[in-house]
Symmetry: C2
Subunit: 241 residues, 2 copies
């Protein structure tokens, strides 16, 4: 029977949740796989079923686990799509899948801000991508993406044209990196000359700027991205309570 350190003031189920989180982050059950049944885990930790359920519910709320009635409890896969387009409304048919094209791929010294976020030494080499996303054949979003380098070496080589339209599944397949959480910071700016050209807009045109930092299960920042698109196409809804 596994014992759990119970800090005073910490409830049993919270301690159990931490313990389970540690086992998941350590890779005991890889993303997408099922963890043992509630009964098994409860017995293993010597607690009542309800207490273990409470712990697992907590982790599910936090997005670490996914519970499926009748099938089991699973470690969540990475974020499915890259829902960058949810911030924009372009006239084109929404059902049509957006297309991606890699405009540039270079190994460069990361700027200070990027290096700090990615936790690689300042000036250390990183992989930089420039990417254009199109909707209905029209250029819509321009992205600049920084990836830390030993981890993403697999993307520095090979044919980028064969990558497909979604990056996160690619990260998972080719580099074993699962994006689990992301923080987007929205701001406003103006397009530089080259950026405007890529988006077929006049230079200096107003743009919405979304700066994203993406994290894996262990909380490491694994992607630093800036996305720009026509400010007039920007549209976002927030519900507050």
């Amino acid at each position: 029977m596994r014992l759990v350190d119970t800090e005073p003031g910490q409830s049993r189920y919270a301690a159990l949740a931490s313990a389970m989180r540690a086992r998941i982050v350590a890779g005991e059950w890889p993303p997408g796989s099922a963890i043992p049944a509630e009964q098994t885990l409860a017995a293993e930790h010597g607690v009542a079923l309800g207490t273990m359920r409470r712990a697992l519910d907590l982790l599910a709320e936090q997005g670490l686990l996914e519970r499926v009635h009748g099938r089991g409890t699973f470690v969540r896969q990475g974020l499915s799509g890259a829902p960058m387009l949810r911030f924009f409304r372009f006239g084109a048919d929404e059902r049509e899948a957006p297309r991606s094209r890699i405009l540039a791929r270079d190994v460069l010294a990361a700027p200070a801000e990027v290096a700090r976020a990615l936790a690689c030494g300042p000036g250390e080499p990183a992989l930089r991508l420039k990417r254009l996303r199109s909707v209905g054949g029209q250029p819509a979003l321009l992205e600049e993406i920084w990836l830390p380098l030993p981890a993403f070496q697999a993307l520095a080589d090979g044919d980028a044209a064969a990558w497909g339209d979604l990056l996160y599944p690619l990260y998972a397949e080719r580099c074993g990196v699962h994006v689990h959480r992301a923080v987007d910071t929205i701001g406003f700016g103006n397009l530089g000359a080259a950026q405007a050209r890529a988006l077929q807009l006049p230079a200096g045109h107003p743009c919405a700027r979304v700066q994203r930092q993406a994290y894996d299960l262990a909380g490491r920042c694994v992607e630093w991205r800036t996305t720009r698109g026509d400010a007039h196409a920007f549209h976002y809804t927030v519900s507050i309570t």
Copy 2:
């Protein structure tokens, strides 16, 4: 003992939650007051304590109730502040409370879009406010606010200069309207000449536009508001999982 219709496929606690929601919306316990103890409610409905707790937890998650250990369970007051400024970063000292000034107050026929949202007949009279919010003495946000009219008659009369800096507490005190939920839609645009003048910016300057619809406990739209501020001061962070 109160009985609850249990639709097939609906769990007991969900049905209980609906029943409690109805009693709250009906005003059985006004905002800010405590509801009876869990034990009492459980007995009243003839269910186990755990089941009633589950129902109340659900309503708490939905923001309808607020649970306080040792004191009781309370019907939530309206949204505390009007956190419109969370969308912006102005240079001024953040600790300093923003100030408000009413620029105009008129009873007018509501435009079609507003009338539809407020569920008053198109062209029926409504109260329109124009309001300027300043931070550190500098004009920052310009607001246009529409309120449905029999309900807000108390604000059509009296001295608007004495209103103070927050509107939602005012709605509660003077009109008995509690704002419980709001939906903000963000976009970018350009300032008209008069708007720019009020904000001390050049005409045509880019602005962020936040369109808010606020709802009371019963789900009625009780406020329609558009807020504009310098697009370059706009700044918002979203976490996704």
